[in-house]
């Protein structure tokens, strides 16, 4: 287990390293100059050069990259804005805030959004999927299957604005979604996120319904499930012990992928509802050519994806005794 973790974490670090390089190169491919943004009204070549110097943009790209890596690992107190302990992504060009602090600041929003939605879609999606598989061929199954088919084809960028238009702008039943810290005001936290949760989990729940149903049905056709029935185990027991156990693998896989990418920032959801999470931060960093922030978000998102990959692979070992971690 330990060897597995070490090996996977090393792999993840290598991938993150490559990703940071790609992002770096990508950023310098952008024709937009962040200095123009900070330059203010009296912008002239001198002041641009000055800003370049302050930001270190006048150094060769390789050196800048080296500095970036160095700061990331070791921290730095070279920044004019103040000290920057590791992991140091530097200070945002746009807000002059520490990038790591900004990430941590935005993370609760994304985590609230993701966890809340994940709880909903996991229970509703899997519940409906299992019910459909249990009652396969009945009206319940057909309704659930058809419904899930249609709902999973919906897009947040349609459903989200539609919900906003109906519930917020037309009827005024709800406030526009907003994020309040759960520690500050749990009620506001809940009401502020309810629409995003519902919308996000509706679409995901439909996908999980489809997935749970089809993987349960697949499992129910497994011979070992039939064996269990043949030895007189009840339908319910076989369904929830034998078939469910086998269905867990694809479900956990997809759930890990989904959680990983959602924790890295649910871009369209956050954008649609104007929630100040990592996804919106990412969009912002691109619009502002804010390299430190972009690198920070990019690496953070990728770390989440990789972390959940590792968690999923480790989870396999708990689900399936045939899997050995190495």
């Amino acid at each position: 287990m330990l060897r597995f973790l070490v090996r996977r974490f090393i792999g993840a670090v290598v991938i993150l390293f490559l990703l940071s390089m790609v992002t770096f190169v990508l950023f310098f491919g952008v024709p937009r100059d962040p200095a123009l943004l900070m330059c203010g009204k009296t912008c002239n070549p001198d002041s641009i050069a000055n800003i370049h110097h302050v930001l270190g943009l006048d150094k060769p790209i390789t050196e800048q990259y080296w500095i970036f890596l160095h700061n990331l690992v070791m921290g730095s107190d070279q920044f004019a804005q103040g000290p920057c302990p590791a992991p140091c992504f530097g200070y945002s060009y746009h807000t002059n805030e520490q990038v790591w602090g900004t990430l941590m600041d935005r993370l609760p929003t994304t985590v609230s959004l993701t966890l809340g939605a994940a709880v909903c879609f996991l229970f509703i999606g899997l519940g409906t999927g299992l019910l459909a598989a249990w009652r396969r061929g009945t009206l319940i199954d057909k309704t659930a299957t058809a419904g899930a088919m249609v709902i999973s084809s919906l897009q947040i960028y349609f459903l989200g604005p539609l919900a906003l238009a109906l519930l917020v702008y037309q009827t005024h039943w709800f406030d526009k979604p907003a994020y309040t810290s759960v520690t500050q005001d749990p009620a506001a936290w809940f009401t502020g996120l309810i629409i995003p949760w519902v919308i996000l989990s509706t679409i995901f729940a439909a996908q999980y319904t489809r997935m749970a149903r089809s993987s349960m049905i697949e499992q129910l056709q497994e011979e070992h499930v039939r064996t269990a029935r043949a030895k007189g185990m009840s339908r319910r027991y076989v369904f929830f012990r034998y078939a469910w156990r086998g269905s867990l693998i694809p479900i956990v896989t997809i759930f890990g992928i989904d959680l990983g990418s959602l924790f890295g920032g649910a871009i369209i959801t956050e954008y649609t509802f104007g929630l100040p999470g990592l996804g919106n931060l990412a969009v912002q960093s691109v619009f502002f050519s804010d390299l430190p922030l972009l690198l920070g978000v990019m690496l953070f998102s990728a770390s989440m994806i990789l972390l959940f990959n590792i968690i999923v692979d480790a989870a396999y070992a708990f689900i399936d005794p045939r899997v050995r971690l190495a």
Binding site: G40, K41, T42, C43, A80, G82, T102, G274
Partner: protein, 602 residues
């Protein structure tokens, strides 16, 4: 308040502030045409009435606000967090609003009426609005007694010297540059050569430029007359900075204040708490009040959120307000139509005027008939639509905003107020006459949702008049940089400009003086008309603000009607609301929004 340096920012904060598209100021529903007239009347009353106050006018304390009470905490809902609190970096309206509570300069605007329309420039830290004996070349200011920073140290002429000298340091790059340029007598950013490192390496401005003969006296020496110095000094960007407390870059997050309030806590992007500055002496301040005990500012409040909270008027929001958030487009017509909301609603013009620049450096644009054809053909309706209809944008006739002295509401040479969608027939006839039917017209537009929307429709309107319009998108964050390049490709492009103070001096000379054409300068249309240049020189020397305002308006009419290097598009408007317990709610034309200094809790 120039839109030059700021506009890129403004456009971007729309882009960035969370719900990128959602925050766009679009508005539906029916129009309420009556408000426009009232606003114009309000603005008209304000024209040309700003005078430079005497020592008597400059004596504190400020006249009490009728019915005002002391005490209580006010909730302030703001969309954007304050990026800068260092006075030298303040040039954006929301920071300028809060700066009214925090920072004091040598001069300031004293409201002489309770409706926010009438002002005079008075001495703030200084005993009067300034004295000049040589037509504006030398200005002398004397500091009042008993003025202190929030840490208790008295404000001396050394602090004022430091305030100005640090503006030359490289890290100060966001604020206004008028006085620096005047002191160095150079255009653009060349002033920095005068004191490249600021005061931080032991060098100072020579006495021939800035003189502080004693602890109370400051003398500005300019090579050319600058009668507008009292206006300029009133900008938040020239507020006093403590020499002792100057932490350079870090000052931007935690400045030493001199106004009635000081910063108790500031969490960027989240919240800010202002409490009373006990070292502020009302007897020294003719402008500000200190009724409210505490301002609790919350950031990231979108227009819809703040409007909804303030409309709901419950709990803490009853004493809630927003210094800068407007009523969101969706609620605007509702708020304006609701008689119950009247007492809680203020609206007025922003100092910005939109204008379509015609690039005079392009040979094809040198033909005046072509420019006239553009002026006739250009539809203004797309612009009004993109910003939310007539409640938020009004078709402009001239270049001078209703908030600036000299505004003439009846001036409308191209018939835009009657035919806001343009007059393609007339334009086509002119184009035919010029023999340029089907000529190529490159239209650079800002790549924001609004820019995309109005530019396509404007292009369609111009095409109807026989132009072959080529739209070219320009990224929002570098838009102003690109259009202010001398060799840009764009035949026409839209910019907006706001006066930094209510004098056309901050509109016409920076935008239309042919001698300041340079890369990055704001003469976007690159017009170089000898008559405009000479008029600028002549009017710039007039020391009577009332007289000069009339002359500026005449020049405005010449530019729009005869030079035709620019087509005015729209005057920006806004509406703000507050909770029912908020007293002293006034839309201040100079601030361009709610006046935070007069607020109290009922």
């Amino acid at each position: 308040m120039s839109r030059g340096g700021r506009h890129a920012y403004g456009a971007l904060s729309v882009l960035a502030a969370g719900a990128l598209v959602l925050t766009g100021c679009s508005k539906g529903g029916s129009d309420s045409g009556t408000n426009g007239k009232k606003d114009q009347q309000d603005a008209k009353r304000q024209q040309a009435l700003i005078k430079f106050g005497s020592a008597a006018d400059s004596t504190g304390p400020a006249a009490p606000v009728p019915g005002a009470k002391s005490g209580g905490a006010m909730e302030v809902l703001q969309r954007d967090s304050y990026a800068h609190l260092d006075p030298g970096q303040i040039y954006v309206s929301d920071m300028m609003s809060v700066a009214q509570l925090l920072h004091r300069g040598l001069t300031g605007y004293k409201a002489t009426s309770d409706n926010g329309h009438q002002h005079e420039v008075v001495g703030d830290l200084a005993t009067d609005s300034g004295t000049t004996t040589d037509g504006g070349k030398t200005w002398k200011y004397t500091l009042k007694d008993g003025i202190k920073f929030d840490d208790g140290t008295p404000i001396t002429s050394e602090d004022i010297r430091h305030t100005f000298e640090r503006l030359f340091a490289p890290f100060i790059n966001q604020g206004p540059t008028y006085i620096q340029q005047w002191l160095a007598n150079t255009p653009g950013a060349a002033y920095r050569k005068l004191l490249p490192d600021g005061p931080y390496k032991g060098k100072h401005l020579p006495d021939s430029v800035l003189q502080t003969p004693d602890a109370k006296t400051i003398v500005f020496h300019f090579k050319t007359p600058h009668p507008d110095l009292p206006y300029a000094l009133a900008m938040a960007g020239y507020s006093a900075v403590s020499e002792k407390g100057d932490t350079k870059e870090k000052y931007d997050k935690n400045p030493v204040t001199s106004g009635p309030y000081k910063i108790q806590s500031f969490k960027s992007g989240k919240s800010m708490v202002l409490v009373k500055n006990t070292n502020w002496d009302p007897k020294t301040d003719p402008i500000r009040h200190q009724y409210v005990d505490q301002f609790n500012i919350t950031f990231n409040q979108q227009f819809e959120t703040s409007t909804k909270a303030l409309l709901a008027d419950s709990g803490a929001d009853r004493s809630g307000i927003s210094f800068n958030n407007q009523v969101d487009a969706g609620n605007l017509s509702k708020v304006l139509a609701d008689p119950k909301m009247k007492s809680r609603t203020v609206s007025g013009y922003q100092p910005y005027v939109g204008q379509m620049n015609v690039n005079m450096s392009h040979p094809a644009m040198k033909d005046k008939t072509v420019r006239e054809a553009i002026a006739y053909a250009l539809p203004i309706t797309p612009f009004v639509r993109a910003y939310g209809g007539t409640d938020a944008m009004e078709v402009a006739g001239g270049l001078i905003s209703p908030t600036v002295s000299g505004y003439n509401p009846s001036f409308d040479p191209w018939g835009k107020k009657k035919k806001p969608a343009g007059d393609p027939e007339k334009a086509k006839a002119l184009l035919k006459k010029a023999g340029k039917l089907g000529m190529k017209l490159t239209f650079g537009y800002i790549n924001t949702p609004e820019g995309q929307q109005y530019s396509t429709a404007m292009a369609a309107g111009l095409a109807k008049a026989g132009f072959n319009v080529q739209r070219q998108e320009i990224p929002a964050e570098t838009y102003y940089d690109q259009v202010s390049k001398l060799n840009n490709n764009y035949d026409i492009f839209h910019t907006a400009w706001g006066a930094d103070w209510p004098s056309a001096l901050t509109v016409i000379p920076p935008l239309y003086d042919g001698r300041v054409i340079a890369d990055g300068a704001q003469n976007y249309s690159q017009v170089n008309d000898p008559k405009i240049n000479s008029e600028i020189d002549r009017i710039g020397k007039i020391t009577d603000p009332v007289k000069s305002a009339a002359e500026w308006e005449k020049l405005d009419e010449y530019i729009v009607q005869d030079s035709v290097n620019v087509v005015p598009t729209g005057d920006y408007k806004q509406t703000q609301i507050a909770g029912s317990k908020v007293g002293g709610l006034v839309y201040d034309d100079v601030i361009g929004g709610v006046d935070p200094r007069r607020l109290f809790i009922k």
